[in-house]
């Protein structure tokens, strides 16, 4: 009896695993140490530069149309003089059970063999479903085709598509860098080494708070860091199984209850 239950549970679970992959090639994971993050915003600038994020201006920022794929949330607790300020960088969490993937009617967003939640711009028809389903508010919509006044367009990264009006976009874990590293490793007939792939945010971080790597590689830094007792995931109770792992901040009045 128990065997049948387990089988049914496994089958159901396998359908809950996007892409129905039995095994992933990589399990890209980011670890964010909140005790090291000082909220400076360098990662956000790195993301703007790497991923051709348009600047929308004051008016559109006011309509929540700013493009930052990665934002730093800031929370303020308490009254003067006992004020506690906390920062947390929030990017696409690359959920293994992503709500956005279930919603998309045209499969523009799906899970790939690397454990990444990817967005296919060519398929996207802009129904906005994924952004509505997203638990973390990390999806950004191109309400217009944005222009870069000359010669600012010379800065655009040729490795990343410039998106057009009507397309949803979000953090890709700098998939262009992952692809480049995988190609190079393939040319050299080896696997991707730990530390070879660095998304722009992790690369630029002045405090080294962001670490990126393959969780399936037992020797990788992230594989070692996920055993940290400070580990937690954002809104984990919603069962989205995010690939971004946060390490709790150490604070004087820190509470430990879950």
């Amino acid at each position: 009896m128990a065997g049948i239950f387990d089988k049914v549970k496994d089958t159901l679970n396998s359908y809950r695993t996007p892409g129905y992959f039995k095994k992933l090639d990589h399990k890209w994971t980011m670890v964010v140490d909140l005790d090291m993050c000082n909220g400076c915003g360098a990662c956000v600038a790195g993301c703007y530069a790497e991923n051709n994020l348009p600047v929308v201006g004051k008016e559109d920022c006011g309509k929540s149309r700013a493009f930052s794929w990665l934002r730093i949330e800031r929370y303020v607790d308490g009254e003067y003089p006992d004020v506690k300020v906390k920062f947390i960088p929030v990017m696409c969490q690359h959920c293994m059970k992503a709500p956005c993937e279930i919603g998309c009617p045209v499969y523009a967003t799906y899970h790939n063999q690397d454990g990444l939640n990817v967005q296919v711009y060519n398929r996207c028809v802009g129904t906005f479903t994924c952004a509505t389903y997203c638990t973390y508010d990390v999806r950004r919509f191109n309400w217009f085709s944005y222009k870069w006044p000359k010669p600012l367009d010379q800065q655009l990264n040729p490795d990343v598509t410039v998106r057009e009006m009507g397309v949803m976009e979000k953090c890709t874990f700098c998939i262009q860098r992952i692809t480049a590293a995988k190609d190079k490793a393939k040319d050299e007939g080896r696997g991707v080494k730990d530390g070879e792939v660095l998304p722009a945010c992790c690369q630029s971080c002045p405090t080294n708070a962001l670490v990126f790597g393959d969780l399936q590689d037992p020797e990788s830094r992230v594989a070692k860091m996920v055993n940290n007792p400070r580990k937690y995931r954002l809104l984990e109770e919603l069962n989205t199984d995010p690939s971004v792992i946060y390490l709790k901040r150490v604070m004087n009045d820190g509470k430990s209850e879950e």
Binding site: N38, G41, A45, G57, Y80, L152, P206, N208
Partner: protein, 748 residues
């Protein structure tokens, strides 16, 4: 392959010229534009990036950078992983400097004034015409024996560009090279000289300290060398050994203060007294590790914690607690930032911080204050050369010609300096600025200089790493517009002047000048020569690595004597302009994490990326404590007027509990008139400041006035990206207590 090796292979330098030079050669001939790619330059493979090692010039910290260049265009700037200052990281401003290079508002070629001064009516001229006009004006002045009436006004210059400017001025015969920036560390230089005999800024070894007592130092975003300190901060928190503690003393929580374990909101202007109170508590309890306790007790007798507590609004017990922890945690470190040095008596506060470090035995130890080697070019800031000196000379018509480069004093000096009016008295003003700004708008002639990504240069980073760091700046791309290197402009100007300008200005180009300068350094320094065949070999390696640095620490001993301390400290709180009744609130102005003193305001990323503390974008605001706001009837987002005895501006109110109820704070940098991204972003906070400068150093006191705040008629709208400042029980940023953390660490 490691990143460093990757760099070595891809970094150019083999020919010692850089891709920019090659591209410059091939693109300058008309009609040749299509041909080169039939036989592409050796370095260019379409789709494959070249990385050039260079130096960031967005602030004075001298971070090593690598620039990703594809098909001759700069794509992205990252920290140079091998560089001892940046260690692979780079701040917001450094990354945005690529938008300075490709800014649509750059001046595209030489301009000559056609209409009235300040009307903005300029005619395009050629470089030859502009250079001839400049040479004529300057040689006429020199011929009439008035060479001393020529002033050169620049930002803080570094390395060989600074040396070249000095050589040019001495060859020309004028002693008047004024280097001016709002945040120039003049007080810090003075305080270290006066109390420790140091000519350079030391390295504050945050990385290894276990107790960091910061007096208004926003080292995570703006102070001295933010990337290097942030790298250190990360290691301090989660590096080897116990987790370091950060205590931040400041009236308003800065980005760094937001990360502190303890916030000590001392009354504005009394932080220096608090530091000395802590010092007294240390000697009274016998905690001090250096210095004669009885001598120091006598020297600090005016700073008994009981009296200090009354002045500073910090409880006596807390002063003793901090003193105990500061002295007994090993190693500890005290630092004093802009928040401390921006008072009228700022230099004395910084001396007080040195006293703390001396008494706790933090000078010259790992995790404390490490001396830096001297600048190999012996450059030093002349404290007597001030922007106010220029203003008064110009007002009395003692200035006949002025050249401006990379600084915008009309925007950053208070109205009382009457700088704009005085500058209008000068018959001839030339600007080398690449952007139109409030100061360049007065120029008769504009010869736009290259931006740092198109230019040669170098820097001998001061807050460095406690060891020599020589960083090279090389062109990553050829000039985007019709601009020239300032070094080249000065060298060719020197050649076109009649009469001898001296032997030091003979180089054909600034690139050659820098190379010759490094050759001289190389010949004098045996450490540079080790491991290299000859200078050419060394130079190639230097261009690949982004400079030269060694691990050799400076061995200079540091100490503070009671005499040096007593001569520089005072038990009077910093003075604030304005009557307490009429103007009830202290005003704190601070360098903005993105726009600093305003230089970043026209870079669109730096407007669109939210301010870390308030999340406001594309605007200016005033931070007010919610209780104060309530008593004044101010709601979030209201337009309020901020009035001081010196002026009045308006800004939007941002209610922030992390500021003292008797204080309001304004970020600097907004309120500019020029630039499509910078203009119409509120008003310049400098407009309410009185002209108060430190008599010894010439540093402008930014925290020097009281204000009153009242609701004004609404203008515009404040846009902020935050939804709520509360987590609303969602447990988004989870925390553990330090005790629990040390238990976790033991178990692991």
């Amino acid at each position: 392959m490691k990143r460093r090796e990757f760099l070595r292979i891809l970094g150019i330098g083999g020919a010692g010229t850089g891709l920019g030079f090659v591209l410059g050669k091939v693109t300058q001939t008309p009609g040749a534009k299509l041909i080169p790619y039939l036989v592409p330059p050796e370095e260019i493979v379409p789709g494959v990036a070249n990385w050039y090692a260079s130096m960031c010039a967005e602030c004075n910290s001298g971070c090593g950078i690598i620039v990703r260049v594809m098909e001759g265009r700069a794509k992205k700037i990252e920290g140079n992983p091998g560089h001892p200052v940046s260690k692979g990281g780079l701040c917001v401003r450094g990354q945005a400097s690529v938008q300075r290079l490709y800014n649509p508002d750059r001046i595209k070629g030489p301009l000559k004034r056609r209409g009235q001064r300040g009307s903005g009516d300029y005619a395009e001229v050629t470089w030859d015409e502009a250079a001839a006009e400049l040479a004529k004006n300057l040689s006429d002045l020199r011929k009439s024996g008035e060479a001393g009436k020529f002033y050169l006004l620049t930002s803080q210059l570094h390395g060989h560009l600074n040396q070249l400017a000095a050589n040019f001025m001495s060859g020309y015969g004028s002693p008047n090279h004024i280097q001016y920036e709002l945040f120039q560390n003049r007080n810090l230089l003075y305080a270290n000289q006066a109390s420790m005999g140091l000519n350079t800024i030391p390295h504050y070894n945050i990385e290894h300290t276990k107790y960091l007592l910061s007096f208004g130092a926003d080292f995570g975003s703006t102070w001295l060398s933010p990337v290097n300190f942030s790298k250190g901060y990360g290691r301090m928190r989660q590096g080897e050994g116990a987790r370091g503690k950060l205590v931040q003393v400041e009236p308003r929580i800065s980005v760094t203060g937001a990360n502190a374990d303890e916030w000590v909101p001392a009354r504005p202007g009394t932080e220096a007294i608090l530091a000395l109170g802590i010092a007294y508590a240390m000697v009274e309890k016998g905690y001090n590790r250096a210095g004669d306790a009885s001598a120091w007790r006598a020297a600090l007798s005016a700073y008994r914690p009981k009296e200090v507590a009354a002045i500073t609004d910090v409880k006596e017990e807390r002063i003793f607690e901090i003193a105990k922890e500061f002295a007994q945690t090993r190693p500890s470190l005290a630092i004093g930032g802009e928040g401390l040095s921006s008072y009228e008596n700022g230099a004395s506060g910084l001396v007080a911080v040195n006293v703390l470090n001396h008494l706790a035995g933090n000078l010259g130890v790992k995790g404390g204050v490490l001396p830096n080697p001297d600048d190999p070019l012996r450059a030093a800031v002349d404290m007597n050369k001030r922007i106010t000196a220029l203003a008064s000379a110009a007002a009395s018509s003692k200035v006949k010609a002025l050249a401006i480069y990379n600084t915008n004093p009309v925007f950053t000096t208070p109205k009382a300096a009457k700088l704009e009016e005085s500058l209008k008295n000068i018959p001839f003003i030339v600007s080398f600025s690449s952007f139109m700004d409030e100061t360049t708008a007065l120029a008769d002639l504009i010869l736009p200089a290259n931006t740092p990504l198109e230019d040669w240069g170098d820097g001998f980073a001061e807050p460095a790493a406690g060891a020599p760091v020589y960083t090279i700046m090389q062109p990553a791309v050829s000039p985007v517009f019709d601009t020239k290197s300032l070094g080249d402009i000065l060298l060719s100007l020197a050649k076109s002047m009649p009469g001898n300008m001296g032997p030091k200005l003979q180089a054909q180009s600034f690139a050659e000048y820098v190379r010759n300068g490094w050759k001289e350094l190389y010949s004098k320094n045996r450490a540079m020569a080790s491991g290299t065949a000859d200078f050419d070999d060394f130079w190639d390696k230097t261009l690949q690595n982004g400079g030269w640095w060694s691990q050799e620490p400076s061995r200079r001993g540091l100490s503070v004597s009671t005499g040096a301390a007593s001569a520089n400290i005072s038990n009077k709180p910093a003075k604030f302009d304005g009557d307490e009744k009429q103007f009830p609130l202290y005003l704190i102005t601070y360098a903005h994490p993105m726009r600093l003193d305003g230089r970043g305001a026209n870079l669109p990323w730096l407007q669109e990326i939210p301010d870390p503390m308030t999340s406001v974008v594309w605007g200016s605001w005033v931070e007010i404590n919610p209780k104060t706001a309530e008593s004044l009837g101010i709601k979030e987002g209201d337009t309020v007027s901020i009035e001081s005895p010196s002026g009045r501006i308006s800004a939007h109110a941002y209610l922030f509990p992390g500021i003292r109820p008797d204080t309001v704070a304004l970020p600097l940098g907004q309120g500019q008139v020029y630039g499509r991204y910078a203009k119409d972003r509120g008003e310049n906070p400098i407009g309410v400041l009185p002209l108060v400068e430190n008599p010894k150093t010439g540093a402008l006191a930014l925290n020097s006035t009281r204000v009153k705040v009242s609701v004004a008629s609404p203008t515009g709208r404040m846009v902020k990206m935050e939804g709520s400042t509360k987590e609303l029980g969602r447990g988004i940023v989870k925390t553990v207590s330090p005790e629990e953390f040390s238990k976790m660490k033991k178990e692991a």
